[in-house]
């Protein structure tokens, strides 16, 4: 240890991390499938390729990227699920591969797509089991569950079988389960996927609280709202490589976080396209106008108001910023 350095050690660090898969080439049709049985031809896929970063304790980091960019693969290596092809990982100063159990005791992991609770048992039993597995005393487990209940409202679910919970309920239940042993680092893989607005809000509030209490959080998500509302740092990965490392305002400057609005008019537009600021772009296609704007700088209502002299608006659709578009902009910026 270097005595002169006062900066805290990173909670999570990856040094030249890589994961390569050999994917067997499967030809088309039955003959192709049969040929793949005997041929050893395979394609090398670099799911994660030379990724380096360090995350300070207590940060809330968003790990973003299009589908198949290597997000989940990275998180799975950080959590000790997969072994890297190359590079070094440190979580709380330990290797999640060589010291898997010791790391597991101090981290929490939530996969949005599948539960880690006991499917056939009532939720309360799952919590008892988790407490037993992590050596948490029943009293402490109860105390933590009471605290989680204030935001997650899991108490009414305790007697229900996990298989009978709705997706939103199950997500809340899984989060509480992942935090029951008081982890210092929390990995979240798409925790808000498929949830409605209310459920998302509850989960975000909860995550903010957990982070404020000192837990380092790494979140992978598609949802730019998650990122804007929660993360103090963003890592963008694409084709296995880091494409951006910075803050939300930094990403906004570098690429913008565009929201798209479609306005449909009852009749042909009565006016020319209104003049808008430089970073707001409007295009017209018949009776439909499409506007790309940054929600943090101008409200949707202001945009609609700008078109008030152009005729009767019959429909307004707003699509949220999508990460594919942002990544594209990172490269073209």
């Amino acid at each position: 240890m270097n005595q002169h350095r006062s900066a805290p050690a990173a909670a999570i660090s990856a040094d030249r991390l890589a994961k390569h898969f050999h994917i067997a080439e499967t030809g088309r049709g039955v003959t192709g499938a049969l040929r793949s049985l005997v041929s050893r031809k395979s394609r090398l896929v670099r799911a994660v390729d030379d990724v380096t970063f360090a995350i300070e304790p207590g940060s809330f980091v968003g790990y973003l990227g299009p589908n198949g960019a290597g997000k989940s693969t990275t998180v799975k290596m950080l959590a000790g699920i997969m072994h890297p092809s190359a590079g070094e990982i440190r979580v709380l100063g330990m290797s999640p591969q060589r010291q898997r159990q010791a790391v597991a005791q101090r981290i929490g992991v939530v996969f949005g797509q599948r539960t880690q609770l006991w499917w056939d048992l009532p939720l309360g039993d799952s919590y008892e089991l988790i407490a037993a597995m992590y050596g948490v005393s029943p009293a402490l487990a109860q105390q933590r569950l009471r605290r989680f209940d204030e935001v997650l409202e899991i108490k009414p679910l305790l007697d229900q079988q996990v298989r009978k919970l709705s997706l939103g309920q199950r997500m809340r239940a899984d989060l509480a389960g992942a935090l029951l042993h008081g982890p210092e680092v929390l990995f979240l893989d798409e925790p808000t996927i498929g949830l409605d607005v209310v459920a998302k809000a509850a989960i975000r509030e909860f995550l903010r609280e957990i982070n404020a209490s000192g837990v380092t959080i790494l979140l992978t998500t598609h949802d730019m709202d998650d990122v804007e509302q929660l993360c103090d740092r963003i890592l963008v990965i694409n084709h296995g490589r880091l494409a951006f490392d910075g803050t939300v305002p930094g990403l906004r400057t570098a690429a913008g976080i565009p929201t798209t609005m479609h306005l449909d008019f009852a009749a042909d537009l009565l006016c020319e396209l209104p003049r808008l600021n430089g970073d707001i772009r409007a295009t017209r296609d018949g009776r439909r106008v499409t506007v790309a704007f940054d929600r943090s700088r101008v409200s949707a209502a202001r945009i609609v108001a700008a078109f008030q002299d152009c005729g009767e608006v019959t429909d307004i659709q707003i699509s949220e910023p999508n990460i594919e578009e942002i990544v594209r902009r990172v490269y073209t910026a």
């Binding site: 799975k76 000790g80 699920i81 898997r100 597991a104 599948r114 006991w118 008892e128 597995m133």
Partner: protein, 270 residues
């Protein structure tokens, strides 16, 4: 991270109790399941008894002696089924990616996997194994072909060794899944067929098969060899020591294979 054996048992029994309570909630279904499982293995043995009644002996073993072989193997299987059944469902864990959830627990992975489900209804089969041993012993004890100490070995030791050997075979088969994923069919060759074979005197099988059942899939040590000796039909007393050794070594080897395979684990899904 140091964990004591006591920690393991605490968590395991906690699970067993939870699993049992959950099963008991549907009392009728619980009893029916136990009943059907008991009936189906009883039918198997009745079939053998009928054949034996016709031919009197299988390679020099009468029906009571076969019961003394069938009993401990059935007991072993019931212990294995109750505690280590999740290994047989391992393909599901690999295909769905549910194995991810096992790897993030602060326990050895095999233990965390088995802890996903402890199914006590399988214990019904143990009862039937005990009945078979009782039937066999009712003849062998008075006739002096089986000593009381031998009987104790058959009831108390052999089923445990058998369960260990079955767990090892199952673990090795599951470990192969880390490379090939699809292992459900492989179980037919490595588990189900050898188990069906193990309840008969192995001397009836051709040499290559007998060799296989003594080495790669060592079910011979879970029944045939020790019982052969205990009934005074042949073999040396060393087999009583060799069986535990084989059980431990096969568990160790299977676990080595498991840990090697685990490094290959390619989690699927997102």
């Amino acid at each position: 991270m140091r964990r004591t054996a006591l920690d393991f048992w605490r968590v395991f029994w906690f699970l067993a109790a939870k699993g049992m309570r959950e099963r008991m909630q549907y009392k009728a279904s619980f009893l029916l399941t136990v009943l059907f499982r008991t009936l189906s293995t009883t039918m198997d043995f009745v079939l053998i008894a009928v054949i034996l009644a016709r031919f009197r002996f299988i390679d020099g073993w009468d029906v009571f002696e076969v019961a003394l072989l069938y009993g401990p193997v059935t007991l072993a299987r019931s212990i294995f089924d109750a505690f280590a059944r999740e290994l047989e469902r391992f393909e599901h864990y690999l295909v769905s990616g549910d194995y991810d959830g096992i790897l993030v627990r602060p326990w050895p992975t095999v233990f965390a996997l088995l802890a996903r489900k402890v199914d006590v209804t399988r214990i019904g089969m143990a009862l039937q194994g005990l009945v078979l041993i009782a039937i066999g012993a009712s003849q062998a004890l008075p006739a002096g072909t089986l000593s009381p100490a031998g009987l104790a070995y058959l009831v108390l030791v052999l089923p445990l060794l058998g369960a260990m050997i079955l767990t090892a075979i199952s673990m090795a088969t599951a470990a192969i899944g880390f490379w090939v994923i699809r292992i459900d069919d492989l179980y037919v060759f490595t588990m189900y067929a050898p188990l069906s074979a193990a309840v008969f005197p192995l001397s009836i099988y051709p040499g290559w098969l007998r060799g296989l059942l003594h080495t790669v899939i060592p079910v011979a040590f879970a029944g045939y060899l020790p019982v052969l000796f205990l009934l005074g039909k042949g073999g040396s007393g060393w087999v009583l020591v060799a069986s535990p050794a084989v059980a431990l070594i096969s568990l160790w080897l299977a676990h080595r294979l498991w840990l090697t395979g685990e490094r290959q684990y390619h989690s699927t899904g997102s």
